[in-house]
Each structure stands twice: as C-alpha cells, then as structure tokens.
C-alpha cells in the first residue's frame, strides 16, 4: 500500500513535502515547468531583495544618469523605455508568469530593507498572485553598538507589519545565529508567522593570500550541512504551532527522511537540483515512498517529529554541542532520568 505523503504547510495542502527552494532555478519558466513535471510540491522564488533594488538604482543614478544630459550628441546611453535598474515590477511580473505557467503553489520570497518596504512589497507580492510569502530575514550585524535584543525585536516587528498587511501565509527564513532560537521562534509566531524556514545559507568570504583581496562566494551545499538543521528542527518541533521547513544540505531520500523525523513539515532542495537536474525531485520522492513502504509507514505523519527533542530516546545527542562522553550521560540518564542543570 502506498504511503500517504500529503502535507499541510502553513495552511496550504501539498501532495508531499518536497519543495524547490529559493534559487536562480526559478528564474526560467521552462525550468519551473520541468520542476512541476518532476513532481515538485511547490516552488519558492528567489528573493525580491529590496537592498539590491536600492543598490542597482544607486548604480543607475551614479553610473548611468550621471552621464546623461551632459553632451549634446548623447543625451542618454540606454533606450529610454528600458528599465535599467531592477524594480519590484519585474519580480511581480515574474510571479504572475510563473503562476500562469504552473499549477503548483508558488511561494514568493522577500528580503526587505526599509520598514515600509517590507510591508508594501509584501502586499504587492500577494496581489501578484503568490500563494505564500517567505520572508528572508537576512541581516549581518557588524556594529558593536547593536544589542541582540534589538536585532530580534526589529525582526519581529517586520514580521508583524508584514503579516498585518497580507492574508497569505507567511514563513520566515532565518539563520542559526540567534542567541535563543526557541524564544525567538516564539516571538516570530506571536508576530504572525505561520512557518519557519531553517536555515538561510550565506555567502562566505574567500581570501586570496597572494594579492591580499577578499571575495564573497557561495558554495553548493552537501549533506554535512544537514546536521545543524536536524538539531534545530528537533528542538523547535512541537513547541509552537509553527510549521518548519528544512533547507540546506538535503541531497538524498535519507536526508529528507531525517529532516522529517526531526520535525520538518516540508523539505526544500536546491543544490542537488543544480547538480543533478530538476528530475532529481521525482527520484528522491520515489525513494522516500519506497523506503516508507518497505517499513510499512502508512503516512508521513507517522514519522514526522519522531526524532525531535521531545520524542527522541536520547535528547542529549541533540542538545550537546560540545564533546562530552555520551556513554556517561546515557548512564546518568538511566540512573536518574533526564539531567537538569
């Protein structure tokens, strides 16, 4: 008997939990169609980066506009009707095009810069037809004047203002670098978030030791990155009503099953699709189903969260971030029950 894979993710019913994560893959319509054909339950668009729009417009002002209206023979240097720098319109138009091209749910993604920008762009995204919105709360604090609470409060305020301005479900994509992630998750839920996407992957600096320069690079993930996600999925699962999406390091059907067992509602994949093509979705989905069938799981709900912090037989494996002799703590638990500090 085929197991039931259907999943409800922040209120949207999906046939299974495998979602294509935010990436350039979604920029081309034919690839999005191929994702649907390969069986993707939903797609997440790459983010509308408000900061990128600002930067590109600054570039336009500085390096295009500044040369215009200067010289009689060249009043301008680009076609006047071209949008030179990107704006929100092109992103919104892409949502509409994708919605037209496929029938699976389309989740937009937004990385805002200004308070008004978050909310206003979110509203536009909803109007453009996105089924849900993933807020990409990327920020890199570099100032020693900014306390952590300020960072978290600002994030919660953003989520609150966005959720107040739209009615489609809002997921929040976060990084692992919060002091108290479970508490922060609760704040986000209170602010209106319906799901958490864990975790964002960041560009990392690369240093050229010969010419003393630094560059920024983003490598494709591998399965080793999954473990960090598994820990926090396990810790966060079941604490709030938030759905959890796992992203980063999911490359195989066993990765998917581990994520689900840790508590993920959905699992996003990008790197493996970039490496192996979008047909990989169907392969992994089939293997998940086969694995479940072989072990007589009838529903994905049976395994979701079974290895979470609250259910796993050895939660210290999830808690411990530093080396401690595992055998010692296991013996203590056997003797005294869960260890309290």
């Amino acid at each position: 008997m085929n197991p039931t894979l259907s999943t409800s993710y922040h209120g949207i019913q999906l046939p299974h939990p495998l979602v294509v994560g935010a990436s350039p893959l979604v920029d081309q319509l034919d690839r999005v169609r191929a994702m649907e054909d390969a069986g993707a339950a939903a797609v997440v668009m790459h983010s509308l980066f408000e900061e990128q729009i600002l930067l590109d417009n600054l570039v336009e002002e500085t390096f295009v506009d500044a040369h215009e209206d200067s010289f009689g023979e060249a009043i301008s240097y680009f076609p006047s009707t071209c949008r030179i720098a990107p704006d929100a319109d092109s992103y919104l138009a892409r949502i509409a095009r994708i919605k037209e091209a496929v029938s699976i749910p389309v989740f937009a993604s937004l990385n805002g810069r200004t308070d008004r920008g978050w909310a206003s762009h979110a509203a536009e995204i909803e109007q453009a037809g996105a089924d849900a919105l993933e807020l990409n709360l990327y920020s890199q604090p570099t100032s020693d004047e900014t306390p952590s609470d300020e960072v978290e409060s600002k994030a919660a305020d953003i989520v609150r203002s966005v959720c107040a301005s739209i009615s489609i479900p809002v997921a929040v994509k976060i990084s692992p670098f919060y002091t108290s992630l479970p508490h922060f998750a609760r704040r986000l839920e209170s602010a209106g978030a319906r799901a958490l996407v864990i975790f964002n992957r960041f560009y990392q600096p690369e240093i050229n030791i010969e010419d003393l320069t630094a560059s920024s690079t983003l490598q494709l993930s591998d399965s080793s990155e999954l473990n960090l996600r598994l820990r926090w999925l396990a810790i966060l699962h079941g604490r709030q009503a938030l759905d959890l999406a796992c992203t980063g390091g999911v490359h195989s059907h066993t990765d998917v099953i581990k994520a689900l067992m840790s508590g993920a509602t959905t699992v996003q994949m990008v790197s493996t699709l970039l490496l192996n093509g979008v047909s990989r979705i169907g392969e992994i989905l089939q293997r998940v189903a086969t694995w479940m069938e072989d072990r007589e799981y009838t529903s994905i709900d049976q395994l979701r969260g079974c290895m979470s912090h609250s259910r796993t037989p050895n939660p210290e494996a999830i808690e411990r971030a530093n080396y401690v002799r595992m055998v010692t703590s296991a013996q203590l638990r056997d003797r005294f029950g869960p260890v309290k500090w």
Partner: protein, 1193 residues
C-alpha cells in the same frame, strides 16, 4: 471644427517620431546627431509592440550607414511598403543617390531631417540648412517646419501629401533649436492621422509594388532616344504638388484648427519691408516684426514652408504687393555663388513673375540676401531687427551676415544687443549646472510640473558643453500664458541658478540676470561666508542689478540625505521655493508627487530619500547677505594663464570664458588649421578626490600612468642632480633600473587635470602588507593638497624628459615617455584614450593620425582646446578628421603622400650621395628604422644631411630635398576610430586598405556601440547586450573583425585589452608600427554606455579576457615561413564562466529585467560562441598557444 485635443510638453524629435511611426510600415535607421532620438524612439516603440495606424508594429531595421538606409528605403518602397527614415548632415548626403532614384520613380515616401551643418573647415553637430540645401535638386519635395508644433504637424502633412502626389518628401526642421526644444504642443491622435491619410492612395502605392504575380521592371538603362523625354514625363506630378500640399493643409486645418499654407505671411498686411526665411529663424523674425510694427514700422515675414517644388503663384499670393524691400535669409553658405539658394530662388521668382506679368509692372521690390545662424549660431530678435534695419537703410547691404562680426570682408550687420521682444508675463529662468549633477533632468521635470500645475505654456532648451567629462549645461526655461514662440536663448532672466560654485570663477554667471532677478547659488560652506567668496565683478553685478540672492550647500544636503553627489532634487526644490512661479507649499507638494511618480516603482527607500532631501533643502536654503558695496579683493582669474601663447590667450581664452560669439572673423584661421597642444591651458579642476602617491610602497610598474585617460598622472625618471630646487612637498624615490643609474622616480598627479576616475588607484598592484587597503596610490581630498600639488606638478614638468630610447620597451619604460595626448575632454574613466596616449608615447613624434568621426574625433578635435601635444623639440602627432565613413581611405591617402615624399627624398639622397658623402647616404638609406635607437640614429643622420644641404644649394636636387628631408625619418600613419566606423559605416574602406600593401596602421577603439551618439548598437555589439537600436537585446553575435583581417594573411592583426595584459598592448602597438604592411589593432575599450563604474573598467577588461569573451592575440605575418603559426594567443583558455563578466554590466542585466528567459537563452548561446571561438583560435594558433601563463597584467 476639431475637438479639444491633448497637449504634451515634448521636443520635436519625439513628436515627429510619433507621427512617422504611426504612418509607417517599415523604418530604417542609422544614428546621426541631432536626428538619432527619432530613430531610437521608433526602435523602442517597435520593441514594445506599439502599433501603427493599421494596428501592426512597424518593422524597424538599423543599417550600416545612411547610404545603406537609403538603399533599404528604396527597396521597401519598390516592394510596396510605406515607411520613413531619419537623418541629418553627412548622413543626408549619403542618401542623395537614392533620393534621385526614389523621386525619379515617383515613389511616395517621407523622411524627416533635423537640418544640420555639413563638415567643411570643421565638423559641427549643430543646426543650419547646409545639408537640406544640398538636396534641393534631387526631386524630393521639401517641407520646412519652424517650431515644435509645426514639426509634428508638418510630419503628418508630408506623409499625407506624398501619398497623394507620389512625390517623396523631405520634411526638415532646425537641428537642436527645434529638434531638441521642449515646448507645449497639441498632439495628433490616431483619428486625426487616419482622417488625413487617403486610403485609396495607400492602395495605389501597394498596387505598384514589384510583385512576381503582376511583374514589372524598373531601374532600366535608357539610351539617348528615350532618357530625356522620360525624364520630362514627371513634370505634371510636380505641377500638381503645391495644390496637393495646400489641400492637405486645408484638411489638416479642418481637423485640428491649425492653419498652414505653402507660403505663410505674417505681419503688416501692407508691409513695405519683408523678410523671407525658412525654419525657426522665420519664427524669430516674425515676433521681431510684430514688435517693430507696434512701434510704427510696416514689416512682415514670409515663411517658406514648401521650398520644393517652388510654387511661384502661391509665393506671389502670399507676398504683399506693398512690399518695397525684401531681405532673404539663408541658413547656409554657398561659396562662390551669386547668392545662397533661397535668395536665388526669390530673385528668380520675382523675375519670372515680372516676365510672365503675374505682378504689376510697378512691383519691383529691392531684394537682398544674407546669411545667419550657421552651426546653430544664435539668431535672436536683435539680429532679426538688424536685418530689418539694414533693409530700411538708404543703401542696404547685400550678401550680408548677421550674428557675427565680419571684420575681414565686412559683410556683417550691426546689432543692438539690448533690443528685446520678451513679454513681461513670461517667466524666464536660466540654470547653469554640470551634466553629472542632474540639472537638465530636473529642469525637464520642472517644466512638466509647472505645465501641468498651472496650465502654463512651457519651453525648455538646453545648451551642452563640448567636453564629456565635467560638462557644463545651461538650461533656458520659459513659462507663459500663451504659446511660447521664442526659438532663441534667454538673454534677460528673472531667475538665475548656478549649481556649481566653481563656475563663478570661470564664466560670467550673471550675464543673463535681469535687474531685480532672483539668484540662487550652490556654495559649499557656511552661508554667511558666501558673499566674501564671490569675485569682485560678481559682487558688483549683484549690487548694480539689485539681485535677490539665495544660497545653499547642496552637496552637504545631498550627502546628509543619502543622495551622493546628485543635487538635482535639492536645487529643483530651491527653485520652486524662491522663484515664486508656484505657491511654495503647492510647489513642494508637486515636487513630491513628481518624485513619487518617478521613483515609486523603484521602492519606498528611494522615494523617502528624495522626500528627505526636499525637506532638508528648505531648512538649508538661506538668503545670502549682500553688502552695500563690493568687498572682494579678488577678481575673476583670466581664463588661461598669462604665459599662454598669444593665440591661446586671445582666441581660445575668450572661447573658454563663454565669449566666443564675440570673436570676429579675423580671429579665425580660414582653412580650419589650428594649433595643437592647447588643452594644457585649460585648467578645469574637476576632481574632488585625486590620487596621492606613497613612494615607499611603489613598485615602479608604471601602470597608473599607463591607464590614466587624461594623462593626469605621470611618471618620470630624472637625474638626482635636478632635485636640488624641488619643492619640499615634491616626492620621489630611487629609480630601479640598471639602464638609468643615478635617477630618481616621481609619480605625479596633475591636480587641475585629473577627473578623479580612480582607474590609477584600482590598477595599482602595490599594497601595504600590514594594511592592504593602503596602496601606493590612494585617493585623497583635493582641496587640502591642491596648491602643493600644483607646485609639484609644475616642477615635475620642468624636469628633463627621461631618455628611454635605449631602454627595452615595456610598460614601465613606455610610461617614462612624455604623453603627447593630454587632458582631453573624454569621459572620466574613458577606456579609449589610454590607448591613444600610449600610441603617442611610443611614436608620437612621427605620428600622423586620420581620425574617424566619433568619440575620438570629438575629444581630440572639439574646440576650444585640443589634447594632442608636442615634445620639447616641437614634434608631435599631426591629426585630422575627414568623415565618419571614409577614415581608412583618408589614412590611406595620407600614407600615399608620405610614401611618395619618402621615396622622392630617398632618390634624391641617392643622387646626392657623391656630394653628401657615401657613408651618410648609406647610413640614411640602409637604416631599417624598426626600433627607437634606429629612429634616433636616422634623426641624427637627417640632421647632418640638413646641415650639409645649404652648401649644395645650386644643386637642384639639394633644393628639392631640403623641404622633404624630414620624410627620411619613418612616419607612422594610423587610422583611429571606433567600432561604428570600423565594423559598420567604414568597413568597406577598412577592408580595402587591409587588402592593400599600404604601410598603414588601424587602431579600432572598440566600445561595442556608437558611443558618441549615445550608445546605439553596432556590429560590434555583443549578443545579449541591450543598446539603443537593440532595445530587445542583440540577438546575434559580434562580428569577428580580427579573424576577417587575418584571412588576408599579410596584415598584422592584434586584439588587445590593456587591463588584462598591458605589456601585450605595448608590444602590439609597437609591432603594428614596425610591420611593413597594413596593421589592425582592436582595442577593448570600456565605456559609460556599458553601464557600470568606469573605475572598474580595467578589472572588467581582465574578466573579459579570462572568460574568453575577448581573447587577446597577435597575428604577425612575419612568422609565416618560420614554422610557427602567425597567430599567437596571448591568453590562456577561458576558465571563468562568461556570466561573471556579463553580470557586472547593466547593458546585459537590463535584458534580464525585461525578458529573463530571452536573456538566459542569449547568455547560454553567447557562452557557447565564446567556447567555439576560442577553440577555433586555438586551432589556428596551434602550438603557439600560450597556455602556461595566466592572463595577469
């Protein structure tokens, strides 16, 4: 009668293009100033799917030249389509052959021409009627409009009339003055156009199409028995045309309420003095006549609308029979003729009228003619009045000029500059700004705000600089309750704004300020200190004219508001706040609405940033304290140094001060020959930041000097003994070279000539290891170091030039040579000029340059000052520009002349060997002159020869040899130009000279677009790039010009990119010069039209090579027969994906915005082409491929 029709505030180019687009099926285009905007708009509209009158999108095609465009026009007309084209000046001349054909075959067609000067003694991009008058014999009907409204209306009338008459139309209007003037106009909707066009005529035209289903033949060759009669068979069509035009104008009047006639008279119905003119000059003359008539004069103006065919009866019907004196104004010059074209026509018309008794015998008005407005020379009411005054004089001057002072042949009329016809209820404002500060853009925005808020009629006209970097703009804005008929500059403004403080020391900023006017000055620093910083002359003017002065530190406000250096919104806010043209609160609300409308789609942050700038502006705008008496002790400095040559001080200096109009004819060379090396006298002080040298870190590579586009950072190795008088702040360090012991090295900035582009700092490889952000060159604030650096640079120039003739040629040694191309007007960070500068460093003292029209001809030859310089011996590049299309041929001709003289000189040396000595003769004749030492040796031998020749004077050979002996030193002839020339319009000639054996060198500065005319696509434009004329992204790949040239086998060919491998560039230029046949060097040139910070141009060049987009190579025919392939690749196979290069440039990213799928497809295809091309080159280069070294500079 017509309904109330919509109005718009637009320029003539846009309005005409709109009509032409809607009435065309096919449009062929080619860029040429000032018509390019019409072609650009049509291309964009077609790309966006806009429809013509028949609900189809016209097909728009760019051709390789105007000649090609005319051929394509002829073709689509023959095949039964309707269409248009746009052109001007030399472009129109290239169309003439086909114009004869199109007219001879009675083909309905309408072209739109922004009338412009023709290149004679000099090129001029500006307006006059030289070009259209050269077409009056082609058989085209010629319809002239004189205002923005008329240009639109006549475009429609011409399209309609050509269909009815079958005579093709040339519709023209004044370049810049009308084409670029923004004015309130009533627009023509589709219904009006539809009503104007006769569908039956369209059907008839289509029916005449060449069609194999109903075949016919045209273009036959006719013999003496037939040609003449057949030529006369068209007469009746021309006879009918004036009536058709008149009927079409009547229909148009019925539809729109605007009445025109083939000849329109305006003025006193019983005028005695009448001026006859074409174009915007007639408009100026008409408003002048009206003013004169109000004071009792009886004057009028007869506008010639339909110039060809010239309808005698309609002319006579328009001309008052009371006319006693006629002045005919021509905006062209026909040297040697009895008069200019319109004058001759009027004379002929009146003579014919009398002969045919069409007028009473007593009607014999005096007719004189004169010239005005050549090259957009200002023609304002004072000049028009001078024409009327001359006409009323007892002995009117015939063949006069007006608007200049001709103190040589005394043709000019006296002009009263104080005469004005400006009306009191018209608001007039003048703004002086920099192109880069957004002044013009803000003013375009302001007139739309005012026009829409008040319903006022608005006019804007912008005067641009001849420089591309640091270009000054002057905006002239008028607003009034009636249509504004004033096609001339504002001479008396109620509001004057100076957006750049530095201008007050360079030009008379208040020249156009009326008494009591409001004056706004952007001044840095505290507002209460501004008055004391004004030059004395300015203070005196402010007091004398009782100006109300305001000041703001706009750059400080911009920085505070996060606007960078863009002060446009700030200065616009000031204008609205203090000009009184709108109520202040309403004005601010309108500005914010405009900001919302302009930036709303770009995001809230940008809108809010601009809002913030508006609010902060009002808090920082101050009334300037004006003292009762002038208090300044400093005056405006002279425009050029007092040590400058006499000509520079008296002529160039006046032009630099903006007073060139005052120069009389006698001040000018009659043949267009000007002194070189004048840019050194124009100190513009553009850079807020300049490079500062850290000698301890410098590795003496010379890259900084190499890449400087303006020769504003230089390297010199100088003997230690010369350093005793060095200023204290003058820096140097030991020069590392075995060849020049005892020398020190200095890297010195020219602080007044640097444009602050940062290329030198970015290319500098030397870093402080403990703090890599500190390099051997770092940008520093100019102001604190300015005086010291001026002193240092002066001392630097006084040091002896480094003798490098015996040092191995490489980047380092090349940069110790004095550049003979300096301080040009090129864009800051220009990617072209470093190559030219290098060329002058390698061989500038024996260099002849033929320069194709384009960016390089403009920054090289646009007055007032020019950058080609001379060395200490007075030698330097000799330079000339012929045309756009003929540059290879032009250079070829130079080479022929040089070769002839060289050959003659050599023959004479051989003949004189017994007298000058066999050893000297052999030394001269046998010197191969392939490197610098040999060249220096040859110079010495020729010097000896010249010393001996006078003693041989009776010998006729000696007399013949003396004037040409310098040709015994090898000359290097280079054809320089851009890709528009080399790949497109001049390709035929270029190909021809490559196929020859001429020792001619070609340097193609490949920016991959027509940079000078604003970035139109060429055949060098790469796949996937968006450019004008390729608004949807270039769908085909770039032409491989180098591969084509290699195909000949005997030509030296190199592709270079200075930012990727600078030594290879040096080698390529030197090898091209040494190659005894044709040479082609294609130089990657980054350009502002690529859409990124030019400071990173060299890094982008490097990436272009690393991705395989721009493989660098040298194909040297001398390797033939050596066992080595002639082609040597100077870069390794690409390892970096192409998208890393493309992503850095807006020209590629634009397409990803508008059409991501198409962009992605083209990017993939482009990547594949790169791979294929490199593989092909590797095959050609075979074992010679350099795969062991990376593409490090």
């Amino acid at each position: 009668m017509p309904q109330s029709l919509p109005s718009a505030i637009k320029d003539a180019n846009e309005l005409v293009a709109s009509v032409a687009f809607r009435l065309s099926e096919n449009i062929v285009i080619y860029p040429i100033t000032p018509s390019s905007p019409m072609a650009e708009l049509c291309d964009e509209w077609a790309e966006n799917g806009r429809k013509n009158l028949w609900n189809a999108t016209p097909a728009v095609a760019q051709m390789q030249s105007e000649g090609g465009a005319a051929g394509a026009v002829h073709g689509f007309l023959q095949a039964g389509a309707m269409g248009t084209t746009f052109t001007a000046s030399q472009g129109l001349l290239l169309m003439i052959p086909n114009m004869y054909k199109i007219a001879g075959e009675l083909t309905p067609f309408c072209m739109h021409v922004t009338a412009r000067s023709l290149a004679t003694h000099a090129l001029s991009i500006f307006g006059d009627h030289s070009d259209v008058m050269a077409c009056r014999q082609t058989g085209f009907a010629m319809l002239c409009s004189g205002s923005v409204q008329e240009a639109q209306d006549f475009a429609a009338i011409a399209h309609a009339a050509t269909l009815r008459s079958r005579i093709p139309f040339l519709h023209f209007f004044d370049g810049f003055r009308t084409s670029h003037e923004i004015n309130t106009a009533t627009t023509l909707d589709d219904a009006t156009l539809r009503a104007l066009i006769d569908d039956e005529c369209i059907a008839a035209h289509r029916k005449r199409a060449l069609n194999p289903d109903a075949p016919a033949i045209r273009g036959t060759a006719q013999n003496p028995d037939a040609f003449f009669q057949a030529r006369e068979a068209v007469n009746s069509y021309y006879d009918r045309l004036p009536a058709i035009v008149e009927e079409t104008m009547e229909t148009f009047a019925h539809l729109t309420g605007r009445t025109y006639k083939p000849f329109d008279y305006e003025g006193d119905p019983e005028a005695t003095d009448v001026v006859i003119a074409l174009g915007s000059g007639a408009e100026t003359t008409a408003v002048t006549a009206a003013a004169l008539n109000r004071s009792g004069r009886r004057t009028g103006v007869l506008r010639v609308r339909l110039f060809r065919p010239f309808a005698l009866d309609k002319f006579l019907a328009a001309l008052p029979l009371t006319t006693q004196r006629i002045a005919v104004l021509d905006r062209t010059k026909e040297p040697g003729a009895l008069g200019e074209p319109l004058y001759q026509d009027i004379q002929t018309a009146l003579a014919s009228a009398r002969a045919e008794e069409l007028v009473p015998p007593s009607f014999q008005p005096l007719v004189i003619g004169g010239r005005y407005g050549l090259g957009s020379k200002e023609f304002a009411p004072p000049m028009a009045r001078a024409v009327f005054d001359n006409l009323a004089a007892p002995s009117p001057k015939n063949h006069f000029t007006v608007g200049i002072v001709d103190d040589v042949t005394h043709t000019s009329l006296e002009v009263d500059p104080d005469f004005s016809v400006e009306e009191d209820d018209v608001f007039r404002a003048v703004f002086l700004g920099l192109g880069s500060d957004g002044t013009v853009g803000a003013n375009k925005n302001s007139i739309k705000i005012i026009g829409s808020a008040t319903g006022a009629h608005a006019q804007a006209y912008f005067v641009y600089d001849s420089k591309k970097a640091g270009a000054m703009t002057v905006s002239h804005l008028r607003f009034g309750p009636r249509p504004i008929r004033a096609p001339y500059l504002i001479s008396s403004a109620g509001f004057v704004a100076c957006h750049q403080f530095s201008f007050i020391h360079r030009i008379d900023v208040l020249e156009r300020a009326a008494p009591g006017a409001v004056f706004l000055l952007n001044a840095p620093g505290a507002p209460d200190t501004v008055w004391d910083r004004l030059p004395r002359e300015m203070q005196e003017t402010i007091i004398a004219r009782n100006l109300q002065c305001y000041t703001i530190d706009a750059y400080a406000v911009a920085r505070e508001a996060g606007m960078g250096n863009r002060i446009n919104t700030i200065m616009q806010t000031c204008f609205f706040a203090i000009s009184g043209i709108l109520e202040k609160d309403e004005a601010i609300a309108q500005i914010k609405q405009a900001i919302e409308s302009t930036y709303g789609r770009k995001g809230r942050a940008i809108v809010e940033r601009n809002f913030g700038a508006v609010d902060t502006t009002l808090a920082n705008l101050h009334r300037m304290h004006v003292a009762e008496k002038a208090t300044a002790r400093h005056s405006m400095p002279p425009p050029v140094d007092t040590e400058a040559p006499d000509f520079v001080r008296k002529v160039t200096g006046l032009m630099l001060a903006g007073k060139g109009d005052l120069l009389p004819v006698s001040a000018f060379p009659a043949d267009g020959t000007w002194p070189t090396a004048t840019s050194q006298w124009e100190k513009r002080g553009l850079a807020r930041l300049i490079p500062s040298w850290e000698p301890d870190l410098c590795i003496q590579c010379g890259k900084c000097a190499l890449v400087c586009p303006h020769a504003a950072i230089r390297a010199k190795a100088w003997p230690e003994s010369c350093g005793t008088s060095a200023p204290d702040s003058f820096l140097s360090r030991e020069f590392k070279s075995k060849d020049l012991p005892g020398h020190r090295l200095t890297i010195q900035t020219a602080p007044d000539d640097c444009t602050g582009c940062r290329l030198c700092v970015n290319i500098c490889p030397a870093k402080d290891r403990a703090n890599p952000s500190r390099k051997a060159l770092n940008m520093t604030e100019t102001e604190p170091v300015l005086e010291n650096e001026r002193t240092n640079y002066s001392f630097f120039l006084s040091l002896p030039e480094t003798d490098v003739s015996h040092i191995r040629l490489d980047v380092k040694s090349s940069q110790l040579r004095r550049p003979l191309f300096e301080y040009s007007g090129a864009c800051s960070g220009c990617g072209e000029t470093p190559y030219i500068k290098l060329l002058t460093q390698l061989m500038g003292d024996r260099l002849l340059i033929a320069n194709a029209t384009g960016c390089s001809s403009i920054y090289s030859g646009n007055l007032p000052t020019t950058p080609y310089a001379t060395d200490s011996k007075g030698r330097g590049p000799a330079w000339s520009n012929s045309l756009f299309e003929d540059n290879a041929e032009f250079g070829f001709g130079m080479r022929m002349a040089v070769d002839y003289k060289t050959r003659a000189a050599r023959d004479l040396v051989a003949a004189l060997a017994p007298y000058i000595g066999d050893s000297l003769a052999s030394a001269i004749l046998d010197n191969p002159q392939t490197d610098d030492p040999q060249i220096e040796s040859q110079r010495a031998h020729v010097g000896s020869l010249l010393e001996k020749l006078p003693s041989l004077a009776p010998n006729p050979d000696a007399l013949l040899l003396a004037p040409i002996a310098s040709y015994l030193v090898r000359k290097s002839v280079w054809c320089v130009g851009g890709d528009g020339w080399a790949y497109d319009i001049g390709f035929g000639g270029l190909d021809h000279v490559l196929a020859s054996n001429a020792n001619l060198n070609i340097l193609v500065l490949d920016t991959e677009v027509y940079s000078n005319t604003g970035g139109q696509s060429s055949k060098a434009t790469p796949m996937g790039a968006v450019a004008k004329f390729a608004a949807g992204g270039k769908a085909v790949g770039k032409k491989d010009l180098g591969l084509h040239a290699m195909g000949y086998g005997h030509a030296y060919v190199a592709a270079v990119a200075m930012g990727a491998k600078d030594n290879q560039t040096v080698q390529a230029l030197a090898e091209a010069d040494a190659h005894p046949g044709p040479s082609l060097v294609i130089a990657y040139s980054h350009c502002v039209a690529h859409g990124y910070d030019m400071a990173h141009g060299l890094e982008q060049q490097k990436l272009a090579v690393q991705t395989g987009y721009w493989p660098i190579y040298r194909f040297d025919p001398k390797r033939h027969g050596t066992g080595e392939p002639a082609l040597k690749l100077d870069c390794p196979p690409p390892k970096t994906p192409l998208h890393e290069y493309m992503h850095n440039e807006l020209r590629f990213r634009i397409l990803a915005q508008s059409n991501p799928d198409h962009a992605s497809t083209l990017a993939s295809l482009a990547q594949e082409r790169v791979r294929e091309r490199f593989a092909h080159y590797q095959t050609l280069a075979s074992s010679a491929t350099d795969t062991t070294t990376s593409a490090k500079p």
